[in-house]
């Protein structure tokens, strides 16, 4: 989670901002027109880079096309600027922002379906497509770029409040916008919306399983970030009144990523720092009076080497490196009020004729079974019997090739993972699937947020799983067994009445196994538990019913004693059952 920013570094940045704001009223030999323009550029680029960090650092979406929205904002101002008079900022800027947001919506609708490398490439290609459009056609000046003859003015009624051809006015407006963009981003990240975004960054699968429609969240932040970049672009167009198509190109996007990484991913203020340091560095290296002509003539080499040094020496960026010198103040400020535990009425989960074929492999074949509420149902079977496939069908990860799935009277066969989660189906995974960078409480909070219980679910879940005294520990610091407990706590906080648990005991020691089975028994008083497990002793000790899958087929379902006595099960499953049969 985004922690409170480092106060020392923040103070430093605030002082810097104040100094920048004073630039225009300093004597010209201290800060000439060039210095003011340079400062304006840094402020605008910082704004753009902060918006990119919302995608990269907060949500984990590495967009390689963010400059496209910056460029669209700039072109928006050009489109709104008449030949012979100035445009009104109050009209031109909203249009520019809307243009950028519209572009982001269009591109994002495709792009956020993709992950990792594909997301990088789709955003890259989409922005290159826009670049080609502006570069190769004459919709706006083509490859020569577009010129704005008269810069916009901020007019209310008849009076002109700000004329952006005045350098000081533009700088102050840009500074104001940067403060607003930063404040907005910071507030957004600390909001419940932002918590979900951070959850997506760390563990999208888990967030979906908790019932969040992650597609919508990712698209929303993509559009918001695009709109903020559009604002920055609109301001940028007012610096020189010139908009070259290269503004949308991949180099600009790459530079923006570079500044985010240089500053420190996921901290917001770090990316502003990155923008400052990168631009100041470039300006210094280009200045032969400072570094000598040998370097200034070939500054990209020095720049490249410095960047490589930075990435190798400080992978966390400046924000990870600077605060080492000042102690951290403050922590998270999430508060929850303990409330009463909600009691569910779990409906019957039933499937009829369920089948799943992968290519030529029949993984599940004609399974018909119903799981009575408030009981522990174990599913056992040899390796490759189709147990995990079955769980995936129940949770909605896979769509079945045949059959129907019902929760109570509701047919959920065609519902996605997050829709089923909202109906109360929670699942855990074979490999522990929690958000390791969050605390125990934060994990439960994010789970509660997706469900009907809200904050009351958190206390209930922590109490039910016995994790109350671990609430402030980071999830990654927990023992394996505790992580398993946390996973179940998340399902409870999420408001699940039916828990699909895929090998919750795998890797647990004897003591942990005992604790977890006791937990499951306790939960079964008001939850339905479907359990896939290899530990036969535990299964026979904890389960009310046992279903046996062999080669994708259900060959038996009944109470533990019936299963133990079943001839077909004995035949199919000889080895391990002999053992259990021998010592009932």
């Amino acid at each position: 989670m985004l922690r409170r920013p480092h106060l020392g570094v923040m103070a430093l940045l605030l002082i810097l901002l104040g100094l920048v704001a004073l630039l225009p009223i300093m004597p010209p030999d201290v800060a000439g027109p060039y210095a003011i323009k340079f400062a304006t550029r840094i402020v605008i680029v910082a704004m753009m880079v902060v918006s990119l960090d919302l995608l990269i650092g907060i949500t984990g979406l590495v967009s390689f096309g963010h400059a496209a929205f910056f460029g669209l904002g700039a072109y928006g101002v050009y489109f709104m600027s008449p030949e012979a008079e100035s445009a009104n900022v109050l009209i031109a800027f909203p249009v520019a922002i809307a243009l950028a947001a519209g572009g982001a919506a269009l591109i994002g609708a495709f792009a956020v379906r993709n992950k990792g490398f594909y997301f990088i490439m789709v955003t890259l290609a989409a922005s290159q497509m826009l670049y080609a459009l502006f570069h190769d056609t004459r919709i706006a000046g083509g490859s020569d770029g577009a010129s704005i003859n008269i810069k916009p003015e901020l007019v209310i009624g008849e009076t002109s409040l700000l004329d952006l051809s005045n350098r000081a006015a533009l700088l102050w407006l840009s500074l104001g916008c940067l403060v607003i963009v930063y404040g907005l981003s910071f507030w957004l990240v600390r909001s419940s919306f932002g918590h979900v975004l951070q959850g997506i960054r760390w563990n999208e699968e888990r967030m979906r399983a908790l019932g969040f429609n992650t597609y919508i969240y990712k698209l929303a932040i993509f559009i918001i970030a695009g709109a903020l970049a559009g604002l920055a672009g609109a301001l940028f167009a007012a610096i020189d009144g010139f908009v070259p198509p290269e503004l949308l190109g991949w180099r600009q996007s790459g530079l923006a990523i570079m500044m985010v990484v240089l500053g420190g991913v996921g901290t917001l203020y770090g990316s502003a720092l990155g923008a400052l340091v990168y631009n100041a560095l470039e300006e210094t290296l280009k200045n032969s009076a400072v570094v000598g002509p040998q370097i200034s003539d070939h500054w990209p080499i020095a720049m490249g080497l410095l960047l490589i040094g930075a990435v190798l020496a400080a992978p966390q960026g400046l924000a990870g490196w600077l605060p080492r010198f000042v102690p951290r103040i403050g922590g998270t400020n999430i508060k929850t009020a303990p409330m009463d535990c909600a009691v569910h009425a779990a409906p019957v989960l039933s499937v009829a004729g369920l089948g799943k074929v992968f290519g030529g492999l029949i993984a599940n074949d004609g399974i018909t079974i119903s799981f009575e509420p408030n009981k522990v149902h174990a599913i056992i079977g040899p390796n490759g019997a189709g147990k995990t496939t079955f769980t995936n069908l129940l949770s909605g990860t896979f769509a079945p090739t045949a059959g129907r799935i019902r929760i109570g009277d509701v047919d959920v066969t065609s519902l996605s993972v997050h829709r089923r989660a909202r109906l109360g189906i929670g699942r855990s995974f074979q490999r522990t699937n929690i958000i390791s960078a969050f605390t125990v409480e934060e994990n439960c909070l994010i789970a509660a947020q997706a469900g009907p219980l809200a904050a009351s679910g958190v206390e209930m879940a922590l109490r039910a799983t016995g994790l109350e005294d671990r609430r402030d520990r980071l999830a990654r610091e927990l023992s394996h067994g505790e992580q398993r407990q946390l996973e179940i706590a998340m399902l409870l906080a999420n408001g699940a009445h039916t828990l699909l648990l895929d090998e919750p005991l795998a890797g647990a020691g004897p003591e942990e196994t005992q604790r977890l089975t006791a937990l499951l028994r306790g939960l079964a008083t008001n939850h339905t538990i479907v359990l896939i497990e290899h530990d036969m002793d535990a299964v026979f000790a904890v389960a009310d019913t046992i279903a046996v899958l062999v080669n994708g087929r259900l060959i038996a379902h009944g109470a533990p004693d019936e299963i133990r006595a079943d001839a077909a099960v004995r035949e199919a499953y000889l080895g391990s059952f002999e053992l259990i049969g021998a010592s009932p």
């Binding site: 390689f64 379906r113 080609a132 990523i257």
Partner: protein, 286 residues
């Protein structure tokens, strides 16, 4: 009709050149897991090597024979100095470091070869045109170029499907961790693959040099197109890169003929369509 035929030839030829570059990129990503933005710089290196070595030896083929080993060695050196630090790092840091490499390579190019475009001569014995039909002639060098690219593609295919190192490469493509678990010296394999990828990009640059002029920034266009090809074909798939490159080449050629001004847009639109239908590319694993 005849223009369409010429454009088809041009598209195939361009597609094959792009394939050489893109296959290097997809190998490096598939096996090393590295997003190499500097891959276009290796294409540029090839183009400028062609320029210099052709002026020394007087022949593009002699230049190739000298240039390819040089490019291979260069790739191995870059891997050793920079890239090997990135294997355990995330995509962002790869992007940052290889982006920084582009800055350096472009500046070195400017120092060594200057900012003006240059032409690389076609060898005399290939300089004519060949009559295809009564009214249609096609430059011999372009046909030879197409042939050489096809041969190289075939050699690559045979290497990958039929040799020991090819088997390692395919294994690495589908499961990189597994190779390490099995105890292969992945450092050596990685260096070889990166060097081979560099050589492939440089080969594309050298072969195409007599057809296009050689100019600064020549690699960046190829870089973006190669990424598009890799995405269309599916990450890490050589076969996918081949089909993707031909599709892109033909789309580009016909785009220039039918919708001048929108040719490059068409290339990206093609990619968008492929991704909507098959999110992991034509031959990628979902």
């Amino acid at each position: 009709m005849e223009l369409a035929l010429v454009q088809l030839f041009n598209g195939i030829q361009y597609g094959l050149v792009v394939f050489l570059a893109a296959s290097g990129l997809t190998l490096v990503f598939g096996i090393l897991g590295i997003i190499n933005l500097a891959h276009g710089s290796f294409y540029m290196l090839g183009a400028y090597l062609a320029l210099t070595l052709t002026s020394i030896t007087g022949n593009i083929f002699l230049a190739l024979a000298l240039g390819l080993p040089l490019a291979f060695a260069f790739g191995a050196a870059i891997e050793w100095i920079f890239i090997r630090h990135l294997y355990k790092r995330d995509h962002l840091q790869q992007v940052l470091l290889t982006f920084a490499l582009i800055l350096i390579f472009n500046e070195v190019q400017r120092i060594v070869w200057g900012s003006y475009p240059h032409a690389v001569p076609v060898p005399d014995f290939l300089s004519g045109s060949i009559r295809l039909t009564a009214t249609l002639a096609y430059p011999v060098y372009r046909l030879v170029l197409t042939g050489i690219c096809l041969v190289l593609a075939l050699v690559m295919l045979i290497t990958i499907t039929g040799t020991k190192i090819g088997r390692l490469i395919r294994a690495g493509e589908s499961n990189r961790e597994m190779l390490e678990l099995l105890g292969f010296d992945s450092r050596l394999l990685f260096r070889l693959v990166f060097a081979a990828g560099t050589m492939l990009a440089a080969a594309a640059g050298m072969l195409a040099a007599p057809v296009e002029s050689v100019y600064p920034g020549i690699g960046e266009r190829v870089l973006i197109v190669s990424f598009v090809v890799v995405v269309i074909g599916g990450m890490g798939s050589i076969r996918g890169a081949f089909i993707g490159a031909l599709l892109i080449g033909i789309a580009d050629a016909f785009g220039k003929m039918l919708l001048p001004g929108f040719a490059s847009v068409m290339v990206y639109a093609l990619m968008a369509v492929v991704l909507v239908v098959r999110p992991a590319g034509l031959f990628g694993r979902a």
